[in-house]
């Protein structure tokens, strides 16, 4: 394969559609006789529904139906996500089929009306009373504490050597507790589902990162064959993990449609997304690190507690980065969960690696001051020659190259080591850095490739575009695999009528789909070869030809061959197609496969007000071969921006008395605005990983990892104040004790 298109900063294939408003998102789908549904949600965190008074709502103008647990058709609760079969189960709560309330914001009624306004108004008229029970809402509450049997496929606890003993023996060490609050995703596109029944068949346009999961979920709930459910999500307006599984709105829209016998549109209000879509759970972690005087780590401990729900068992894998980053003879890593009466948490961009690197990389920074060793140098000293906990060889670790690249681009050498040593007038200036990391995950994938007699190709896989540029990158990949110009290739996605794809999650989609497309192209070779009953390819076996330049060419005589179009035209065929399903290989067991990066940050801090402004940010990444330089850069910029929000602004505030989230809107839950985001620079090493499809790694999540630590470390360098809980608000910074 010649990489003509791959790697180029190609414009998005759907860019024009998006910026002109022509792109159709889930909530923009319409049907004749469509009705609008609005949810009524619980105003307690735990208890039972005593009474739902719907009389006024039922009588309100335009109302078609009010559905409560008293009259809702029964649905079967599917298996939660992560089991043996594909599932998008978000929670085991039998929402609307129970009088039990499991969290504040749980849907307790649906109002369906002719217009959205009528439905909203009538929803306000529904009166619900409860028998309330005490709820567990914080990490320190009486919720059930569990040590998970496994975290994903890995052991919960990793113990190498004697970490506590080594820590005790050390004189140069840090032993501190770091906290991250609940965060919520806040994709600009609200969660929305348009559901239409046609007899026993169901079509949903959903804001989904996993259409096949939605299909499976709805088939189970409504007792249908999966083939009778079609889920579509060709364009999603941001997901970040919040649309990875089917939250209640996804199945309540079809439920409402079933009740009223009409197509139904259900769009959550922003506060309802906080209420009935999980966020990133609050986490408290202890990190202890010790080193000898030369900076070599002698002990590494990371242990802590993350919240989960009472109706799912989500575990945020915050100890995962420490398993692979640094050489250390004594490592102890473990984590536990506490079950809270809150909307159960879910994946949010780099679950685990994001909060995990905040704690680990903050602690390493603290250690660097004890050692009086430059933070970059400390990370050079502790470079492992094999995976520190599994012992596996690295597939293609280029962390040191990324570290050096970032340090050079950032100008790290201008940093003076002492805290508070780089003031600019009144303002304190600080430079900080942290390591970024994210695993290489690959999932099952399948694809169909069709070439036509007119010289074009269509490539299909039921994967997802949420803004990352999926169709663009896959078009480039398919174009190179087929040897066609990108203009001749169209990529179709986001539909369960297309070949199966997994969730757009774990930064796995690009290589999982690319592997399937590659296999489908290989299959296609045989299909087309059979049609070449005359000409230079006549009678050849597939092994004797290669796909190149939009056709098939003899491997023993590269000048001899024929284009797909020519073969098809002669055979009198309009097109030929092939499909392939690919499972991930054993590479992840054989190799330690991760992406790495180094995040560099410069802050200016007002010492009187405690306000922190990030004025410069550089991220340098080792992510294998980059498929599209433009969309890749956007992914890194987006991840880093989201990390800046985590570091300085974002926090879901919950009223401890009721469980109500009090800042459930974009004015009060602060995400960075343009004025908060400096010019961000993103660089990459670009060395292809020999053990991944296309030599690529996924890049959607690594950008956020390490950012919060880089900011916190820069803030410490500026002020001499260590803040171990994000966001670093003025009051937290001014209250932190000052060194130096």
């Amino acid at each position: 394969m010649s990489t003509t298109a791959v790697g180029k900063p190609m414009d998005r294939v759907d860019g024009r559609l998006k910026v002109t408003g022509a792109a159709r998102y889930a909530a923009e789908h319409d049907y004749p006789n469509l009705a609008h549904a609005v949810l009524v949600t619980s105003t307690i965190s735990k208890g039972t529904i005593a009474e739902v008074v719907t009389a006024a709502a039922v009588k309100a103008r335009g109302v078609a139906a009010v559905v409560t647990h008293k009259n809702a058709p029964k649905m079967k609760v599917p298996e939660p996500f992560g089991g043996e079969k594909p599932s998008a189960g978000s929670t085991t709560a039998p929402v609307l089929n129970t009088d039990q309330v499991f969290w504040f914001g749980q849907p307790v009624a649906i109002v369906i009306a002719e217009t959205l306004e009528q439905a909203r108004h009538a929803a306000q008229l529904v009166r619900v009373t409860y028998q309330e029970q005490p709820a567990n809402l914080t990490l320190d509450s009486a919720g059930k504490v569990t040590t998970p049997k496994k975290i994903m496929t890995e052991a919960t606890t990793v113990e190498i050597g004697h970490a506590e003993r080594a820590l005790k023996a050390a004189t140069l060490k840090v032993d501190a507790v770091y906290e991250t609050p609940q965060f919520n995703h806040n994709a600009i596109e609200l969660h929305a589902t348009v559901a239409a029944w046609d007899g026993g068949k169901l079509t949903v346009h959903d804001t989904a990162q996993f259409v096949f999961g939605v299909q499976a979920d709805l088939a189970t709930r409504f007792g249908l064959k999966p083939a009778d459910v079609r889920a579509l999500a060709p364009l999603v307006g941001g997901g970040f993990g919040g649309k990875g599984v089917a939250w209640p709105s996804t199945y309540l829209a079809p439920l409402a449609a079933k009740v009223v016998g009409r197509p139904v549109k259900l769009v959550l209000a922003r506060d309802q997304i906080y209420g009935c879509v999980g966020g990133r759970p609050p986490i408290r972690q202890r990190v202890a690190v010790a080193a000898d005087k030369d900076g070599k780590l002698t002990a590494l401990i990371q242990a802590g507690r993350s919240a989960t729900g009472t109706t799912n068992q989500f575990v945020e894998q915050f100890t995962f980065p420490a398993r692979h980053l640094y050489a250390c003879p004594n490592i102890y890593l473990t984590q536990e969960t506490i079950a809270l009466d809150t909307c159960p948490p879910t994946f949010m961009r780099a679950p685990g690696e994001c909060p995990g690197t905040f704690a680990l990389e903050s602690a390493l920074d603290e250690l660097s001051y004890q050692l009086k060793i430059d933070p970059v140098r400390l990370r050079q000293i502790n470079e492992p020659d094999k995976d520190p906990t599994t012992g596996a060889p690295f597939s293609n670790r280029k962390y040191q190259e990324a570290l050096a690249l970032g340090a050079e681009k950032f100008g790290w050498n201008r940093r003076t080591p002492e805290p508070r040593s780089m003031a600019d007038g009144r303002m304190l200036v600080g430079l900080g850095m942290a390591t970024a990391t994210y695993p290489v995950y690959r999932m099952p994938g399948s694809a169909r490739v069709a070439v036509s007699a007119d010289g074009t190709a269509v490539v299909q896989s039921g994967c997802h575009e949420m803004g990352m540029g999926t169709a663009t990158a896959q078009t480039q990949i398919a174009a190179d695999l087929l040897g066609l110009p990108v203009e001749k290739v169209r990529f179709e996605l986001g539909d369960t009528n297309l070949p199966f794809a997994m969730v757009a999650g774990g930064s796995s989609q690009t290589i999982s789909v690319a592997a399937a497309v590659s296999a489908a192209v290989a299959e296609l070779k045989g299909v087309v070869l059979k049609l070449a009953t005359a000409g230079p390819l006549e009678g050849l076996k597939p092994a004797a030809v290669a796909v190149r330049d939009g056709g098939l060419y003899r491997t023993d005589d590269p000048a001899s061959g024929e284009s797909f179009a020519s073969i098809l035209q002669r055979a009198g065929r309009k097109s030929a197609e092939a499909k392939a399903e690919v499972m991930p290989g054993a590479e992840m067991q054989k190799w330690s496969m991760h992406s790495y990066g180094a995040q560099f940050c410069e802050v200016r801090v007002d010492p009187d007000f405690g306000t922190v402004r990030v004025v410069r940010f550089v991220g340098a990444f080792d992510v294998g071969r980059v498929m599209n330089a433009k969309t890749a850069r956007s992914q890194f910029l987006g991840g880093i921006t989201m990390g800046l929000g985590m570091a300085l602004l974002e926090e879901t505030h919950r009223d401890g008395r009721t469980g109500r989230i009090v800042n459930a809107d974009l004015a009060e839950y602060m995400v960075p605005v343009h004025a908060d985001v400096p010019a961000i620079e993103a660089y990459w090493v670009g060395d292809p990983d020999p053990h991944t499809p296309m030599g690529a790694h996924g890049i959607g999540e690594i950008g956020i990892t390490g950012v919060a630590a880089a900011v916190a470390n820069a803030v410490y360098h500026a002020t001499g104040r260590r803040v171990r809980r994000v966001p670093i608000t003025p009051e937290r910074l001014l209250a932190a004790p000052r060194d130096g």
Binding site: Q124, L649, D655, R657, N663, D676, P730
Partner: protein
């Protein structure tokens, strides 16, 4: 939102009559606050009388002062030459608020009527004496990081969110109205009420009384005035603390001072004692710090907002220092 009627007023008198006739009617200006609150069920009105097209949209600058029509948009006022040169504090306050899009819609009259960001008021559901009299105050022992430390009561600690009003508070502004009892003027200091035990009554206006203009008297030394806003986010965010200040300095001595605070008060907070403390003093960091202390003398913190007290003191001191450094 609750279903409502909408009418476009032909003139101020007609608008007043239309609102007076319906107990839950309201005037609609730029709509940047009211419509949100209606969607949240924090406000319910059965009639909106749109006054945004009434000809009250002029800024008239004379030697005696400036008359600002109630319908003047925030962005137009902020960039008006007379405001920028004669009252820089007002221009700065306006431009520190909201976003360009919102400033293009929001009106001066509406800004005077801006309501609190208290989440328990806005959620349309929690106990809130402001929204439902005698229902209690969920903010007192709730999440109250954003709440007021000055002018609070046992019934309400909601912060007045306006930036513009903090600047108006130091400029001897007068609010001109027309209402069921005819026209009148209200000194700005009397326009907003303290919550006391009736936090639902936020202003001196009667039902159906319409703001027509805001008058600013000539204040030659207001050329040395400044608005400073401290907030979590660099833009598009309400103040944690803010200060509007003006100084008259002659022969190296402060002759007159004006100080008002935002983000910390239940109304735009004029700090008269702090002003008095500066008169006759040299413009030094010590004097400005003392003024900051005096301005927050009566502050009462709750669980999450105690940090605002030292922050507000520093905000006042920094704003005064910046004003002192301006050309007089």
């Amino acid at each position: 939102m609750t279903p409502f009627d909408y009418v476009r007023a032909d003139g101020p008198d007609a608008a007043v009559k239309q609102v007076v006739a319906r107990p839950t009617a309201a005037f609609l200006g730029g709509g940047t606050g009211l419509i949100d609150l209606m969607k949240l069920y924090a406000e319910r009105h059965d009639l909106l009388v749109d006054v945004s097209r009434l000809p009250m949209d002029k800024v008239e600058a004379t030697e005696k002062g400036v008359r600002i029509g109630a319908n003047v948009r925030n962005s137009d006022l902020a960039y008006h030459a007379a405001i920028r040169t004669r009252f820089p504090v007002l221009s700065e306050a306006l431009l520190s608020g909201a976003s360009p899009q919102l400033r293009n819609m929001a009106t001066v009259g509406g800004n005077l009527m801006q309501r609190t960001r208290c989440p328990y008021f806005r959620d349309g559901h929690s106990a809130c004496n402001k929204r439902v009299p005698k229902s209690g105050c969920a903010a007192l022992d709730g999440v109250n990081r954003g709440h007021a430390v000055l002018g609070t009561s046992d019934h309400c600690i909601a912060t007045h969110p306006s930036d513009l009003c903090v600047a108006l508070a130091i400029l001897d502004a007068t609010v001109r109205t027309t209402g069921p009892k005819g026209e009148r003027t209200i000194p700005f200091a009397d326009f907003h009420r303290l919550p006391g035990d009736t936090p639902d009554r936020e202003t001196a206006l009667d039902h159906g009384e319409l703001i027509t203009a805001v008058d600013l008297p000539a204040l030659p030394w207001a050329t040395r005035s400044h608005y400073l806003k401290v907030r979590d986010r660099a833009s598009y965010e309400f103040a944690l603390t803010s200060a509007a200040v003006a100084l008259e300095i002659a022969d190296g001595v402060i002759k007159q001072a004006r100080i008002a605070l935002g983000g910390v008060g239940t109304k735009p907070w004029r700090a008269a004692e702090a002003e008095k403390a500066l008169v006759g003093k040299k413009p030094t960091p010590e004097a400005f710090a003392a003024a900051g202390d005096a301005a927050l003398a009566g502050a009462v913190p709750r669980q999450h907002n105690a940090f605002k007290i030292p922050l507000a003191k520093r905000t006042v001191a920094r704003a005064l220092a910046a004003a002192a450094a301006m050309p007089g």
